[in-house]
Symmetry: D2
Subunit: 155 residues, 4 copies
Amino acid sequence: MVIAVIGGSACSREEGEMAEAVGREIARRDAVLICGGLTGVMEAACRGARAEGGLTIGILPGADGREANPYVDIPVVSGVGYARNLAVVKSARAVIAVGGSYGTLSEIAYALADGIPVIGINTWSLRRDGKEVNEIIQADSAEDAVGKAISLKRR
Amino acid sequence: MVIAVIGGSACSREEGEMAEAVGREIARRDAVLICGGLTGVMEAACRGARAEGGLTIGILPGADGREANPYVDIPVVSGVGYARNLAVVKSARAVIAVGGSYGTLSEIAYALADGIPVIGINTWSLRRDGKEVNEIIQADSAEDAVGKAISLKRR
Amino acid sequence: MVIAVIGGSACSREEGEMAEAVGREIARRDAVLICGGLTGVMEAACRGARAEGGLTIGILPGADGREANPYVDIPVVSGVGYARNLAVVKSARAVIAVGGSYGTLSEIAYALADGIPVIGINTWSLRRDGKEVNEIIQADSAEDAVGKAISLKRR
Amino acid sequence: MVIAVIGGSACSREEGEMAEAVGREIARRDAVLICGGLTGVMEAACRGARAEGGLTIGILPGADGREANPYVDIPVVSGVGYARNLAVVKSARAVIAVGGSYGTLSEIAYALADGIPVIGINTWSLRRDGKEVNEIIQADSAEDAVGKAISLKRR
């Protein structure tokens, strides 16, 4: 089972701690962590998963594997820039967003377009034409987020 | 000057009429229309631009130029699936969103990530971590939307 | 009718003159020229087409339209790096290769994989497992190359 | 250390046996196998690596992880079609080509463009403007190919 963690390449201390806890919990539940392979939320999540002996995959935008953060076990060097956001979410059973900026928003959009569950912690929320769209499932802890990522079914 | 029109491949009658009016106005202002090349909002916008003698470019997701709607002058067959959403917005000076679903949201996110102005008509609105994010500029008519697309500067 | 011209971003004087003549001939035959939008063979071909009043489209690898050579009418900013090579050839009815290095070879491969005719002038030739593969059609002048690009059918 | 194996999704029995032997040898040398994740040479190589307890990664072109052959441990669902060929080779230290058709040729071209060593077994050979280009290193057995993949340096 593969779970994606998405969020900004720059993040607050609180977001980093939450991402690390999410990474730890993914590894404890014997899932594989996939992410965009860079810094910030991605690095914190990989560090957490690594600390628990989990496997981490980083799908890099650029053309150089050395861009990967030091906690990525398998860097995938996509060469397609931010089109790699598609691969991060499509490769996962579910996606956990921690904070995040516009790159994260594009990943949330791609996941929801495909019916892949998105669990959010302090991330984007959406209205369309003035009406709330509640497809991002809220979680209030790392355990809650990973539990939902494992149990929710793809639409 | 190239302006992108984005929105769903299925759309309501009102959205179709608005997209067609936007397309007409883009051509009247001597701008080139770029879009995803398919049906719905994309087709309506191309039909409007064509009616005013404008040039229309459709960046298709698939591998077959015949997917293009009949009002696309230049089909670009990207072969990269919905990674083509990047090209639609990055090729434009500004982006006008009419309605739209998750594909449109991914395009809005990519545009804002790059500082490309997004003008919205009955489309998505965003909060991040509970706070309003007002980077999508509201417009209430086709003329208003295209006028803003032409005058707003890239961040 | 859209015809692609492919070749190196650096090229010899002879290759540049040939590419310019190919661009001129494409415009004279009322076809649209598509290319990768950069320097070398791409720029020479666009300059030729522009001199005859033709329309030129450049599919750029990067994220900045200012990378386009000055003879590109419509820069498409793909954002997907050298995955844009797919779009250059798939958008065309036929592909004309002038010289070229490995990027050009990837474009030839993508075109032949899709059954799109490839006409070559001093470019790659191929053997597979020791046997000649003669799917690249040789041309000896710009007129010959463009004539073949217009008349050959997709497989 | 990650090594890519590339080749046709349809292959001869001899090619399948060779690919399986290459996969076995990659795992015996404690390297990770990356490939395009589909049938033919890709499946045979994964089966070989799996038989020796190795880790296998398949970078799929489409949007459905179930396209992966049954010997892929980690399917990466790229969503970018044959632009995924970039990721297959760029993620590897070296590339081993077994037979192959035009998709394989595009991968060889992308690897050589980046200076990534390509080792070939009964695969493409290249001339440019009539002159032999000998950058594809010949191997005559699985052991020879994998040995070279491990020892050759990136240009």
